[in-house]
């Protein structure tokens, strides 16, 4: 069953050149897709359109089998699709971690007790026990990214959209994130520049260029483990 279907979506920011030109995308349940492309290709814009933060100039968006057009339609979309932002600071807007993670469940209508227990369980699942009372602005970059993921997962979404989740992370946190994602039972799309990461976490990689999304029939992945002294597989080239 197609969870997300975009048909002929076109979009341009007011006063700027077209970003998406009759783009199509289908995401089926269980799929784990990577999305690559140069800066400005429209990858984040695509996510914004799916979440209803932007309205397409033309085309049709169908999510969970229903066409979505108005703000009202997207309210239900946002309860079921989780979006991990590029900048974790934008997503952590409560001063404390527990309140931030509980924000989503509270908005879903859960009671305070339920929201608290969901938040604590989510933090535990991500290996973030004892983070509840931490102050968000004092977390390290990697910690912020993981807590931001917790805030999104606490809503128990059916689909995840991750925007450059490994940007700025050290090797250890990247590995932790990779393992976490592999262990989740979720459908997701990941925007990333890091091929190695996408190799571990996705089964197909699409490319965005000229305002459209190109299927992996045209993009062949070559397995290449490249290491430096500090990488997971240190080696030297002759």
């Amino acid at each position: 069953m197609a969870l997300i279907r975009l048909d002929g979506i076109s979009f341009a920011y007011p006063g700027r050149a077209t970003v998406l030109e009759r783009a199509d995308l289908t995401l089926r349940e269980g799929e784990r897709i990577g999305l690559m492309g140069p800066n400005g290709a429209g990858k984040t814009t695509l996510f914004h359109l799916i979440m209803g933060l932007l309205k397409p100039d033309s085309g049709r968006i169908e999510i969970f089998g229903r066409e979505v057009r108005e703000e009202k339609d997207f309210e239900s979309v946002r309860r079921q699709i989780g979006f991990l932002f590029q900048d974790a600071d934008d997503q952590l807007f409560h001063p404390t971690v527990l309140e931030d993670v509980a924000f989503g469940p509270l908005n879903l209508g859960k009671s305070r007790e339920e929201a608290q227990s969901i938040a604590l369980k989510t933090l535990e699942k991500l290996g973030l026990e004892h983070f509840e009372e931490r102050i968000t602005h004092r977390l390290s970059g990697g910690e912020k990214r993981l807590v931001a993921l917790a805030t999104v997962l606490a809503m128990e979404p059916k689909v995840l959209l991750l925007d450059e989740p490994t940007a700025g992370l050290d090797e250890r946190t990247k590995e932790r994130l990779t393992q976490l994602l592999k262990g989740l039972d979720l459908t997701y799309i990941i925007i990333s520049h890091e091929l190695d990461f996408l190799m571990e976490t996705t089964t197909a990689v699409y490319a965005m260029a000229d305002g459209r999304i190109q299927w992996d029939e045209e993009v062949k992945l070559h397995r290449h483990i490249h290491g430096h002294r500090h990488g997971a597989y240190p080696h030297a080239h002759e």
């Binding site: 946002r78 952590l92 409560h94 509980a102 924000f103 509270l106 929201a115 938040a119 602005h137 809503m155």
Partner: protein, 253 residues
């Protein structure tokens, strides 16, 4: 740069229900603000010092805070005694100090310091985040609480953005002087700060929408009064009635 030096600690005041502390601080501040008589004012100052002692605060940070507030009071001491009409007390050259002026300044000094010390002991001994949630439990409207929490949350982010911008300017040889070029540079710095703030606000708003926000703001944290917390309203009640009694009987001399 911006810090909360008194928020963490093990004293009894640090552990008291913050809702109680907010209410007490407000009541006490307003009471002391309207006192006039010196016996009452001196007693209030002593009470405030006692509170600070109970809170076991770091003295260096404390004096720095007091210094800031007393700066303005010092300014008043330099001017008011000379501009107040009244019985001349002494003279420095052609300027005469009046008794009323000195008395008024003394009142202000006692009041100000009594209130500020009490505020530090009561309110600064809880983290600001906690105070925000306490205000929500005290039925402050949700819009106000959300605004306060958001502003607080992003202060440090914006402070860092500003530091980055200022550093970049300095790398380009900018040195502040009394010149139009300097003021224009600062204007652009401030402008850029506002632009970045606005752009981030847009993203934060989107993040809130994506987590299901439709206008209803709820918070998790609840507070429960411990049994030993009850000593504070009791002590405060006695102290404040005592002050009122003092004021009533000794009056304004």
């Amino acid at each position: 740069m911006i810090q909360e030096p008194f928020a963490i600690g093990g004293s009894p005041l640090h552990q008291t229900d913050p809702r109680l502390k907010i209410i007490l601080a407000t009541a006490y501040s307003f009471l002391v603000a309207v006192l006039q008589g010196f016996p009452a004012l001196l007693t209030a100052l002593v009470l405030s010092i006692a509170l600070v002692a109970i809170a076991r605060l770091d003295s260096r940070a404390l004096f720095r805070r007091l210094g800031l507030a007393n700066g303005l009071i010092l300014f008043l001491w330099l001017l008011l005694p000379f501009t107040f009409p009244g019985k001349p007390l002494a003279s420095i050259g052609p300027f005469a100090l009046s008794l009323e002026g000195v008395r008024f300044c003394a009142q202000i000094t006692l009041k100000s310091n009594a209130i500020i010390l009490a505020l530090i002991a009561l309110v600064a001994t809880s983290p600001i985040a906690t105070l925000g949630y306490a205000l929500h439990r005290l039925h402050v409207p949700a819009k106000m609480v959300l605004l306060l929490l958001l502003t607080y949350r992003y202060l440090f982010v914006l402070e860092q953005e500003y530091e980055r911008l200022a550093r970049a300017m300095r790398m380009r040889g900018f040195r502040p002087q009394t010149s139009l070029h300097t003021y224009r540079t600062y204007a652009y710095l401030v402008g850029m700060l506002f632009v970045r703030a606005s752009a981030r606000a847009e993203r934060v708003h989107q993040a809130m929408l994506c987590r299901g926000f439709t206008g209803r703001f709820r918070t998790l944290k609840t507070f429960t009064l411990a049994r030993r917390d009850w000593i504070w309203p009791f002590a405060a009640g006695c102290a404040m009635s005592g002050l009122i009694m003092l004021e009533w009987t000794t009056g304004w001399h």
